[in-house]
Symmetry: D2
Amino acid sequence: MEVGFLGLGIMGKAMSMNLLKHGFKVTVWNRTLSKCDELVEHGASVCESPAEVIKKCKYTIAMLSDPCAALSVVFDKGGVLEQICEGKGYIDMSTVDAETSLKINEAITGKGGRFVEGPVSGSKKPAEDGQLIILAAGDKALFEESIPAFDVLGKRSFFLGQVGNGAKMKLIVNMIMGSMMNAFSEGLVLADKSGLSSDTLLDILDLGAMTNPMFKGKGPSMNKSSYPPAFPLKHQQKDMRLALALGDENAVSMPVAAAANEAFKKARSLGLGDLDFSAVIEAVKFSRE
Amino acid sequence: MEVGFLGLGIMGKAMSMNLLKHGFKVTVWNRTLSKCDELVEHGASVCESPAEVIKKCKYTIAMLSDPCAALSVVFDKGGVLEQICEGKGYIDMSTVDAETSLKINEAITGKGGRFVEGPVSGSKKPAEDGQLIILAAGDKALFEESIPAFDVLGKRSFFLGQVGNGAKMKLIVNMIMGSMMNAFSEGLVLADKSGLSSDTLLDILDLGAMTNPMFKGKGPSMNKSSYPPAFPLKHQQKDMRLALALGDENAVSMPVAAAANEAFKKARSLGLGDLDFSAVIEAVKFSRE
Amino acid sequence: MEVGFLGLGIMGKAMSMNLLKHGFKVTVWNRTLSKCDELVEHGASVCESPAEVIKKCKYTIAMLSDPCAALSVVFDKGGVLEQICEGKGYIDMSTVDAETSLKINEAITGKGGRFVEGPVSGSKKPAEDGQLIILAAGDKALFEESIPAFDVLGKRSFFLGQVGNGAKMKLIVNMIMGSMMNAFSEGLVLADKSGLSSDTLLDILDLGAMTNPMFKGKGPSMNKSSYPPAFPLKHQQKDMRLALALGDENAVSMPVAAAANEAFKKARSLGLGDLDFSAVIEAVKFSRE
Amino acid sequence: MEVGFLGLGIMGKAMSMNLLKHGFKVTVWNRTLSKCDELVEHGASVCESPAEVIKKCKYTIAMLSDPCAALSVVFDKGGVLEQICEGKGYIDMSTVDAETSLKINEAITGKGGRFVEGPVSGSKKPAEDGQLIILAAGDKALFEESIPAFDVLGKRSFFLGQVGNGAKMKLIVNMIMGSMMNAFSEGLVLADKSGLSSDTLLDILDLGAMTNPMFKGKGPSMNKSSYPPAFPLKHQQKDMRLALALGDENAVSMPVAAAANEAFKKARSLGLGDLDFSAVIEAVKFSRE
């Protein structure tokens, strides 16, 4: 199977490499072309614009850094729109809001192309290991044709219906994550301030019904006040805000998520926005006593 | 090793049975004596009062339903205090507040006895399987002498320092649980009201960094609005309140736990107090549209 | 002084009538022209488009129903932009968001015109009585030239600096109002459920340091579960959301406003969005016991 | 009319002085007897114990600093209980919890005496001016006989039914006050961080439907970060906690009060407990940017 691949950041590079390793013919493009070199050494072809990739390949996957980049790759000169046409499929796996996704969808399908949004759950390590979770939505037939690629990139792919649903599902997952992180932080601080060991609390949690990889992975470093940014706090807070906005649209009252969101905002005001989102514990800890 | 065992409710019966199966000589007592019969069939001896059990055994474990029962077994006529003395150890594994525990400790040690509080994390099934988590505190030497019994009853036992710490640690664990349950509930309802499948959300969560036995165990029944009471909502809410009071004592602000507590209170006002604590999702769901 | 006046809804009619009564020469326009009749009887002139009003008058005030109407009156055919030019001033007193205001400002000043935004605090009655509070921002000189008109329309006018600040200030005032309404609602319900009289609570509040016209005005009807819409709950909730968004922008954590916002959302989900915002008390009251 | 008066702190001294000025014969007692001197100069008699005051007077009013002092004056040697008997009335105007009040009531009525609890709303200045608000409950006939005294001490007295209701009503009033103070604080900080003047916000609020003596009185000093303790933050937080506990008892969910309570706890952890409760704004303000 032959696929195009736009965007070779941390995620995109790991993903396109996996496709190569599994026998896909891959044609890559990246804004900074030199980033393509390593992929070429492993057998990839290169094009000089997104439009050229689309022209060459029936299926093109994109993995871009943000909504702005995702729009630019489609709408700018030399962009996807110039060559997309009937028979071609465009799969955007970038994390974007539903509105951006709908805009891209409209443009692609307006030219006769097919579109799938496929944001992923998981960061660098799962991308390298082909263990992402893919939250796809849009053109059902294109989704099905993309399964061989998705099987290489992720451990599971979901088809969630109309365009926008992938983005929404991801927000909901991240909202639960943000509230859980606050619940966890409050517990660790309460243990400590009550004269108990927060490390022992980790051990106890690990043995019970709430044990989960996030607590196990982040707890020990949180107890050491170390927050290397796997998922920056400011992005987590942005996702909380967007999830709350989704609740607003649908008249769902979510007081726990709202409280968690305000805690993340407090953490931002304490200058922690660029640290890992687990740094929200600092907002709970903070005192002058 | 010979041990006394006071209280043969759901938990106590499973626990004393485990001790018998592992070769302990067990002398039991229960307010309703007929409940001892099954244990006797498996080799237990019976006494007619807590005092008699204490008299007979060097170590006595208690597993009573609430603080009131825990106090009564110690202080009432025929109670533990009548026979406790130097050389004897009393291990109360009931779930009680720190104050109750301290009161019992004072009385026991006042007579020369030794005391360990050992509330457990885990309910019926882990009790039967000897997979409880034991949060012990108090007399360190007695704790160490009790390890053979704890090893049968639980998969892990922790020694947490002075009496009261076991109770506090349990509150903190339950507080995290209550906030997590609310985070989970809000996510499931938001998915549903946003036109996404809350069952798919369960599948996605299950594959990611937040996967945990509680979500896996309770999610499917929550999506079917079924809440068979494993841990009644009103007890969960009480523990949230007590954990918040512990935070109050130590000047720890916990806005997420506070919001979760108010959601449990709303659920109580909706008549859901006797259902499982996962029924808090009904307070999130509730609407007139 | 001669002024144009665009928009003769409940607010605009009362305001332009006040200008006439105080000796201003007023030229009016309204989308439904027949609404101008009453004003003409009191001496107003009429034009057939916003552009004509602008052409005729050095100063034109607008009071439109929402951001959409405010934009349309400026940008559509026959709109303000067609005639605005150096020497002319446009004062938009509609309640719009900062973004809309900035857009209008840019267009007006791009043509050499001058712009003031002047959202008001106060509804029908204060408009009729000339007792509005005017939150103006934008062109300082135009603001000063407008004072004779503002003195007729309101009891006080504030100049708040750059365009957008009027809209922001209004959001902040409404945010405080929404949180206060929730504080009040929780108190009334708590009194009632605790076996105290919520009417007596009103009397007590009225005598103390918290007495305010809102509690006095709305309390008695809230205790009778009556919520005739002076300010619809869904608009109050929208303003809470926008104020929280303003806090998000500036990293201000506002947990009380966030909790109040979620209560308003719950009220919306209970079908109360079109009632007065004091109906949020129904979300507090709601129980099944 | 002749009355006894126990307790001559800031409040009690001002109150007993008012009684003297209005022609009451007053017999006073205070733990530190020298504090009685000023009253004696104005015509008061003195007794050496609460019991003696009770013996001498048909009606005795108490105004003590806290529940502990209120209990001590009744139950200790030389206390009220030694002389209270049929025909005598005891009116405790101290601020105590419902439980303390019930305990005193039981003891007094057990001896045949009559009891009214009458906590007040208002601090030093209203006490001096005879402008307190009296929240009375208990013996209705005694309440009515006390009205001449209450008319001197306060601007209004309420009879709220059974003993405990006075204490509860006061908690509810203070809960509303605490939430309002947080709403106000969040608004002031949001204005400031959004580039608006928080002093102008005060002016705008003062002109609108939310204007109230508390905002007017405390706003200007809050904007100057000055918090001379009229009502200490730690006491306000304690009242919030007790009001939330009252809600817990009656299954009333109060998310806004709960969020406000957590903000006061955060303020305590920042070392602000002894300042005025308006210092909670510091918890909102706090940032590292």
